[in-house]
Amino acid sequence: MKPTRSDRSALAAFMAPALIIMLVFFVIPVIYVVVVSVLKWNGISTATFTDIQNFAKLFKDKAFVRSVTNNVIWALVAGFIQVPLAMVMAIILSRKPAGWKFFRTVYFFPQVISGIALATLWRAIYNADTGLLNGLLRSIGLGDLARDWLGTVDTAFPAVLIYWVFYVGYYMVIMMADITTIDSSYYEAATIDGASDFQQAIYITIPLIKRTSLLTCVTLASVLGLRQFEQVYMLTNGGPANRTSTMVLYMYKKLQDTNYGMASASAVILIIVGVIFIVCIRALFNIGNDEVRAQKKMRRAVK
């Protein structure tokens, strides 16, 4: 509808609160971190312009480099192990086996429990003396493997990372919603042609969700992997020896030290890494995309 003249002021009044919020809590903060990232500032004294020194310092700091590496590993594991697992479960449950609603509900539990509560639960599970994991190992005669999972340099990061990988409910539900929109005649035709369930999944379901929900989930999982904070904060606080640190945890610690410049610089790196991930994943999913290939051919032909 085109707004009438009398509508216009009402329209402005209705849009204003949301626009002010977007400005104050999204636009200005993003500009803020970019600007402050080139300053030396503790939030109180006068800020001094430092060029790109903050970034140079960041990459000289082993703790930060370790954080970036951890986040990248996290994002890759989330996008390329967790999401494929979720896809397998989405394909299985969308065939509606007995009790599928119950299983869907259960798989989704970790999504509604807060990250901090889950991390506390897993801290109890990994506990060296009283934890469930060591208890389980001892009871099946593998007591030698029992150890302080979060306190040992070699096992701390895998331990922090791995428990999350098998919580597939969120991505599974997104892909299930997509799979249910696939026209059932595809499957009927394939069944008549003698295609097995497995073949149907490979040749019908996966290609049809690849560029919709699968792409969304891989992007989402990677981006969430880059934002990790609660898990490491609660499980290890980055230790031992910064082995489990992440970019957001690093930023949080810099903020606690009132080093606003360094904290903002790491925020900028976080945003940049996020954008790189989104762009790369999109490019990856477009490999083998006929439309894109056709467009490239056309462009070449024009040249």
């Binding site: 509808m1 085109k2 707004p3 009398s6 509508d7 009402a10 329209l11 849009m15 949301a18 626009l19 977007m22 809590f25 999204f26 803020y32 971190v33 939030g43 397998v88 479960m89 449950l93 065939r95 086996p97 299983f103 509900t105 259960v106 798989y107 539990f109 970790p110 509604v112 429990i113 807060s114 990250g115 901090i116 509560a117 506390t120 639960l121 109890a124 599970i125 009283t130 208890g135 009871s139 098998f166 597939v168 969120y170 539900v173 919603a177 997509d178 059932s184 008549i192 369930d197 919709t212 969304t216 989402l220 934002r227 609660e230 609660m234 957001v248 930023m251 903020l255 606003y260 925020a267």
Partner: protein, 286 residues
């Protein structure tokens, strides 16, 4: 789908796939449920039973007083109330503001409309954790550090892009004719909003509200950042301190964690459809 499939004898390959399928289904279910059950059972043991006996043994007598301990020592009651209070207020403000902007974006063609909408969508994708520093500064500058107001404002604000997106999606599906008819009958901007659009987009608003409340309820990073007083702690911030408060009393700590998880699970089971549709529609279209 299943009914239409032709019945035939199962080949060995299909039997293997069938077993594999059920193995996966049960593995993922056990992986989620088993730790929660272990936590609950441990929370009903005595500390001696928990520390000295097998982790799989059941408590001889369920120790309900662990829950009483958890409630009194940790001040859980206050924290739960804080979480509910902040979450409800933020949700109410959030859906009011978001409904208003969604109404404008969905029903009117005005200059800059597309650009504004792009801004909202970008807002969904911004890694909010990266904005920790500016949020801390803004809340301080507004004099809202360590106040309920600060939490309510920040929670309301960070949910605006998502809520607008969800409510707009529903408003777009309401036919224009209805509104045009009302317009011809002399129904004004506000009248159409309150009497036609708002009642018809109820389901979208409920989805957005559920999603927003759940986000508030589970939020930790900012609550931890902008509040220091013990009196204002939300349940999530409280959990962080459990480990110190119950340094040797493991079983009461587990009781406290169970108490903090139960509302989320109950709320989820009650509002399952809204939560799932909120979380998936945002992801699928976004």
């Amino acid at each position: 789908m299943t009914e239409s499939r032709v019945h035939h004898k199962l080949s060995p390959k299909e039997i293997v796939l069938g077993i594999l399928r059920w193995f996966l289904i049960l593995f993922f279910a056990a992986y989620t449920l088993f730790p929660l059950i272990w936590l609950t059972i441990s929370s009903l043991k005595t500390n001696f039973e928990f520390l000295a006996l097998s982790p799989f043994a059941l408590p001889a007598v369920p120790q309900w007083q662990n829950y009483a301990n958890a409630l009194s020592v940790a001040g859980l009651g206050r924290m739960l109330l804080n979480s509910v209070f902040v979450g409800l207020l933020a949700t109410v403000f959030n859906v009011i503001v978001a409904s208003m902007s969604a109404y404008c974006i969905s029903r009117f063609r005005f200059n800059g409309r597309e650009r504004i909408y792009t801004l909202f969508t970008a807002g969904i994708l911004v890694p909010l954790n990266a904005l920790m520093v500016p949020y801390f500064v803004i809340i301080n500058k507004l004099g809202l550090y360590n106040t309920y107001g600060g939490m309510v404002l920040l929670y309301c604000a960070i949910g605006i892009p998502m809520s607008t997106f969800l409510i707009r999606g529903l408003m777009d599906s309401i036919p224009m004719d209805l509104e045009e008819a009302a317009y011809i009958d002399g129904c004004g901007f506000y009248g159409r909003f309150f009497h036609i659009i708002l009642p018809l987009s109820r389901t979208g608003i409920v989805t957005a509200a559920t999603f927003e409340f759940l986000t508030c309820w589970n939020e930790f990073v900012f609550a931890n950042l902008i509040v220091s007083s013990e009196k204002l702690r939300t349940i999530q911030v409280g959990i962080r301190y459990f480990t110190n408060q119950f340094s040797t009393d493991y079983v009461s700590m587990y009781a406290a964690i169970v108490i903090s998880i139960v509302p989320s699970i109950l709320g989820y089971i009650l509002f399952q459809e809204q939560i799932i549709s909120g979380m998936t529609s945002g992801a699928v279209k976004g």
